[in-house]
């Protein structure tokens, strides 16, 4: 049976979300239709506001608002000589929770993966090189990428690339089972991984 057009369209919008199949999309659409008009407006507005106000920090590519650098890059309490390289903003939140790291971040927005069509050019690597050349105070880079095949390859690639530019390049030492992700790692283990980071060769 076909629904009225606006409902069909709403269901299609929900289906765009990851992990949402036809049935879940239907359920969500029906659920929302039963909401108050006010609630719907609030929902739609916060979606629009988020999309309008949030942009990438021009320095580290973390999320930021208000047009400038993010609250980590602008904080006077952070150690500006150390940059921790991560694959996504999700990992930034995980690392922040450990309170172990006081430096700055650089978000690559992905890992090298030729089978998904992702090469170094598709990541924020050029931007990293640019940043390093502008900020001579940066003297340590920490590679905090997952120990997966793609994380390993990206770590190796960046090590080669950064070696001539940066005095100290370290990587997290995972006492973790290979294949685990930073995101899923508990805070204590992650804190230890920071403490025991080792120099890249």
């Amino acid at each position: 049976m076909d629904y009225v057009l606006p409902l069909t369209e709403l269901i299609e919008q929900f289906r765009k979300l990851p992990g949402i199949g036809a049935k879940s999309a239907q359920r969500l659409a029906f659920q929302m239709l039963s909401w108050d008009k006010k609630e719907i407006e609030k929902f739609a507005n916060s979606l629009l506001k988020a999309s309008n106000d949030i942009h990438y920090c021009p320095e580290c590519f973390n999320f930021s608002t208000g047009g400038g650098v993010c609250n980590i890059c602008s904080s006077s309490k952070r150690d500006k000589s150390t940059v921790c390289i991560i694959a996504s903003v999700r990992e930034l939140a995980t690392i922040e929770r450990t309170h172990e790291f006081k430096g700055l971040y650089h978000v690559l927005h992905g890992l090298i993966s030729p089978m998904d069509g992702i090469g170094p050019d598709n990541l924020k690597i050029k931007e990293l090189l640019n940043r390093l050349s502008r900020h001579s105070e940066i003297n340590e880079v920490i590679l905090a990428l997952s120990p997966s095949t793609e994380g390993e390859a990206t770590t190796l690639y960046l090590t080669r690339l950064l070696k001539p530019l940066i005095k100290k390049i370290t990587r997290l030492s995972f006492g973790l089972s290979v294949g685990s992700d930073i995101e899923q790692t508990d805070e204590l283990t992650l804190a230890k991984a920071f403490e025991g980071r080792r120099e890249c060769i």
């Binding site: 030729p114 090469g119 095949t149 990206t154 690639y157």
Partner: protein, 371 residues
């Protein structure tokens, strides 16, 4: 017994359409009898499907019911594994897969490999391909065997294959003219390193495997072919010669850049290794009779059985498909002499022949004709 399959229920699996296809197993030897094409092999394949180690299991997650009207099938199995009762439910559809082991959901069967029954299959027609077929067949046999013997090997194999897939994808972008040669040579480095790191472990393990166990293969062969004077041997033929450390492998991967770029694929490396099986210094693959090839493949499977038993401390399930039709009496007798005293064995056959070595209280018969 540390591994015992108590029951299996099939829904739409191959020729087992609809519900109500439940089989209970309560003996050490299970004979599955019935005329050809009644579903004997399909029953074994269902057991193989929910286990680790069977032939063709690589594609198992893709196999669908052969009946076009049914777009899903399900298998439920109850087994005892190291004194733990396990219930495995898996229903596989075209778009959805549900795997549940003891009530816990998994994304795929390979995610719960440790808790699946281990199985060794001997199908006369297909198992002979280990000996007669391409190097890939022998590699698969060694990889499967070593995966159970060495957890590190299983991990190295997974990592190697992933890196290989990535490296090949990168090389393909050159063939498709998406990237320049210079860019690729700049970006290939990390993959070479990954491949070397895990490839060296594969190579050394395979070398050791052959050194350590070829004698047992030879002895198995001679037991099965009791009346022959064949002199079998097994040798490791690595794709990369003369290197046994990470740096050595790395150099060889780098030397391959030129040809790899032309062909758009990684031409050499442990993924191209072979295991040379000979009789009197001649390759079994090309020069031996079918009987000799069959003996060799059976000797390999029995070696796998012996090694797994030793490692696991219990016997894997053994599935013997129509061996009576393909093996002569003396080979059948030899085969039975290898059978574990504490393992479960499933045997399909069209006719139940005299089985002098099995006592009556040890076996049950499932007659598919009468169902």
């Amino acid at each position: 017994m540390s591994l015992f399959l108590n029951s299996i229920s099939l829904l739409n699996f191959r020729n087992y359409l609809g519900a109500g296809n439940s089989f209970n197993f309560h003996k050490k030897f299970v004979f599955i009898i019935g005329p050809n094409a009644i579903g004997k092999t399909n029953l074994l394949e269902a057991i193989q499907y929910i286990s680790f180690g069977g032939e063709g299991n690589k594609e198992r997650e893709k196999i669908l019911s052969k009946n076009a009207e049914q777009n899903f099938f399900s298998i439920e199995a109850n087994y005892e594994l190291e004194s733990r009762d396990c219930t495995l439910e898996c229903s596989i559809g075209e778009t959805k897969k549900n795997i549940k082991l003891n009530g816990v959901n998994y994304r795929s069967l390979s995610q719960c490999i440790d808790n699946l029954p281990k199985v060794i299959t001997f199908k006369s027609k297909e198992s002979i391909e280990i000996v007669r077929g391409s190097p890939q067949k022998r590699r698969e046999w060694v990889d499967t065997t070593l995966t159970v013997l060495d957890l590190k090997y299983a991990n190295a194999l997974k990592r190697y294959n992933k890196a290989l897939e990535q490296r090949n994808s990168l090389l393909k972008t050159f063939i498709q003219q998406k990237k320049s040669k210079q860019t690729i040579l700049h970006e290939i480095d990390p993959w070479d390193i990954e491949l070397s790191k895990y490839g060296v472990y594969l190579q050394n393990s395979r070398k050791q495997f052959v050194e350590k166990h070829s004698a047992q293969y030879i002895s198995n062969y001679q037991i099965i072919a009791s009346d022959s004077e064949d002199k079998p041997s097994m040798n490791y033929q690595p794709s990369f010669y003369g290197c046994s450390d990470e740096m050595g492998l790395l150099r060889q991967f780098q030397e391959g850049h030129h040809i790899d770029l032309i062909r758009g694929i990684t031409n050499k490396g442990p993924h191209r290794d072979d295991f040379l099986l000979t009789l009197d210094d001649q390759e079994i693959r090309h020069f031996a009779s079918q009987g000799q090839q069959r003996t060799s493949s059976l000797a390999l499977k029995m070696l796998q059985l012996q090694l797994w038993q030793e490692q696991l401390g219990y016997s894997p399930l053994l599935l013997l498909d129509d061996v009576a039709a393909e093996l002569d009496l003396s080979r059948q007798k030899a085969l039975f002499s290898f059978l574990p005293t504490n393992g479960q064995v499933f045997i399909t056959t069209t006719h139940l022949v005299n089985l002098p070595l099995i006592s009556k209280e040890d076996y049950q018969i499932i007659n598919l004709n009468k169902m």
